[in-house]
Amino acid sequence: MSDNSLWQLITVRFKEYTREPEALFWSFGFPILLAIGLGIAFRAKPADVVHVAVANMGPRGATLADAIRRDPGLAVELLSPDSAATALRTGRVALVVAPGGDDGADGVEFRYDDTRPDARTARLMVNDAVQRGAGRGDVLPTAERYVRERGSRYIDFVVPGLLGMTIMGGGIWGLGYSIVDQRRKNLLKRLVATPMSRAEYLASYVVSRLVLLTIEAVVLLGFSVALFGVPMRGSWVSIATIIVVSALAFGGLGLLIASRSKTIEGVSGLMNLSMLPMWVLSGVFFSSENFPRIVQPFIKALPLTATNDALRANMLRGDALVTLWPQMAVLGAWMIICFVVALRIFRWR
């Protein structure tokens, strides 16, 4: 084993990390479990069957139900008027068909919530089925071709977001918690009482974070590609560059957050304060485009937004790195500003 001090510091970082089972779970297990959960919830499945009910009143109820049943996209039940109303209210069926008007005429009445997309779909499909059953024919011939594209599913959207979240958590927790813990225990003061190089101490964190992050990213991406077929359309060099620059930006942020605090409580508050807005705003689970236009410049300036946008552009669209210069500039600015300020105000004892 080498007696070089930088090497010693780096191996110590790894030992401290791998001997902490919780830390291993949060950086490897958690993103994978999240991807599995989301992948199952939003998995690609055959087009949904729409559930509808026919209120069994008068002689035409059964005829209507037969007509509707001919459309494979519809599942129909014949229910008493009361049961049908209950099924509609509880959301078990999207629409109820009531035969005839009050005067017993031949028309039908559709009962549904017009603000629900599936109810409106049901309205169109049921109407079509009922009209055909009553003898309406097509005026124009039609044909179907299904286009189900990889890269436009929810899982494809969320995996780059999870990767971005992992990079952020690793940088901020990995540096922030550990450094403050050492300061709290007087270990930082003990270390600067030796000839240890302060630059090597900080470098040991950066190097160990980058190595761990490489493993985390490979595990998460490999898993997502193998299990869900998430596309990786960009070049490997580009995505590696995005990950490394992001890791350095969040490492700088972690160092800045940890630069003064003497208690775990204090640094935890700062970490949550900085991460929570990004979890919500930066498009991890849903697109940040959903927020009002006026706050978009602010959202675009957050490092996690830049990371997520760049990862999605690379993985889903295969965009070249040069076209992602705005995101890389945001990350570079965060990295430089955080490191410079953190080193200036860092409390070594």
Partner: protein, 317 residues
């Protein structure tokens, strides 16, 4: 205050008129020290006397507000790197990483020094061979303290600072650490330690500075300081219940008594020689038909010196 007998022309540690204030609190208020090369020097005093502040200024961890500090003839401002290589430091209350083993911890500290002892040699010196593969978090208090000492001496320092090395340890662990410190001193290295245990200073230190309220109030060898009381022994006694009180003047008239004091429930005499004073005391009591309830004697200690200098006990600050 004059420096103690300096054998080497360059003192290992020289402190002149050191001052360090925290707001209105004068933690160190005009303190002078001179530690000769090769000796073990003790800073004694109650908690809050300014010992730790003084030692941390000497260690280059705190900047003084005023005063001059020189270590091994060097100053922090110009020779930071060289001094870090030549000093060994044990801080009060450092928790080394719980997840690392004893050997990994010592190896890490060894890697910071350009020269020094081997990892296994140092682990042997502090008698932690059996624990070399054990996690630091599983060690006892005494073992942790010995590991901290190992980290302090792994760079083979010329000057070793120990801040309360035995505070909180059981008697057996304290004695074990005293042996280690004595061994290190035998190698001709200089040690500066702080303690609030007077017995520790008497066992380990060649010279002692008693510090109170940020100043040195007494300086000398432990024997000189105890000798300055003018009394080598202390007799404590009390009389059977119902006895009439004795006045101090009568006690002072007994052969060999230097000072006499009435304490709650008894009397304290500082005396030069027990073999003359004890028989005289007993015959005085017999003559007065007074009955003893208890009588004990002990040799005068630095504790007695501190009490006589400040009128306060050391521990109950």
């Amino acid at each position: 205050m004059t420096a103690p007998h300096v054998t080497n022309p360059t003192p290992a540690l020289l402190v002149q008129d050191l001052r360090k204030f925290y707001g209105d609190v004068r933690a160190v208020d005009g303190l002078d020290l001179s530690v000769a090369s090769g000796e073990c020097f003790g800073l004694l005093g109650p908690n809050g006397a300014g010992k730790t502040t003084t030692i941390e200024v000497c260690e280059g961890l705190l900047a003084p507000d005023a005063g001059h500090v020189e270590l091994l003839g060097l100053e922090w401002r110009q020779h930071d790197r060289e001094l870090r290589q030549r000093l060994g430091i044990q801080l009060q209350e450092t928790q080394l990483g719980d997840k690392l083993t004893v050997e990994e911890t010592v190896r890490l500290f060894r890697s910071f020094y350009a020269r020094g002892r081997s990892v296994s040699e140092v682990i042997g010196l502090v008698q932690l061979e059996e624990k070399r593969g054990a996690r630091v978090g599983k060690l006892s208090g005494g073992q942790k303290q010995r590991l901290a000492l190992a980290c302090a001496i792994v760079g083979d320092p010329d000057l070793l600072f120990l801040d309360e090395p035995t505070t909180g340890l059981d008697p057996q662990s304290r004695r074990q650490l005293w042996d280690l410190i004595t061994d290190f001193k035998a190698l001709g290295r200089t040690i500066v330690l702080t303690t609030h245990y007077m017995d520790e200073a008497e066992v380990l230190c060649d010279h002692v500075a008693i510090v109170d309220r940020g100043k040195v109030i007494a300086l000398g060898t432990p024997l000189q300081l105890i000798g300055s009381l003018g009394a080598e022994h202390v007799i404590d006694f009390s009389l059977a219940p119902g006895s009439p009180p004795m006045d101090d003047a009568m006690l002072r008239s007994i052969d060999g008594v230097r000072t006499a004091r009435s304490l709650a429930g008894g009397y304290e005499l500082q005396v030069g020689a027990l073999h003359r004073t004890v028989p005289a005391l007993l015959s005085l009591l017999a003559q007065r038909r007074l009955e003893l309830a208890h009588l004990t004697t002990h040799s005068a200690t630095l504790e007695d010196v501190f009490v006589s200098l400040t009128g306060r006990q050391l521990r109950n600050e």
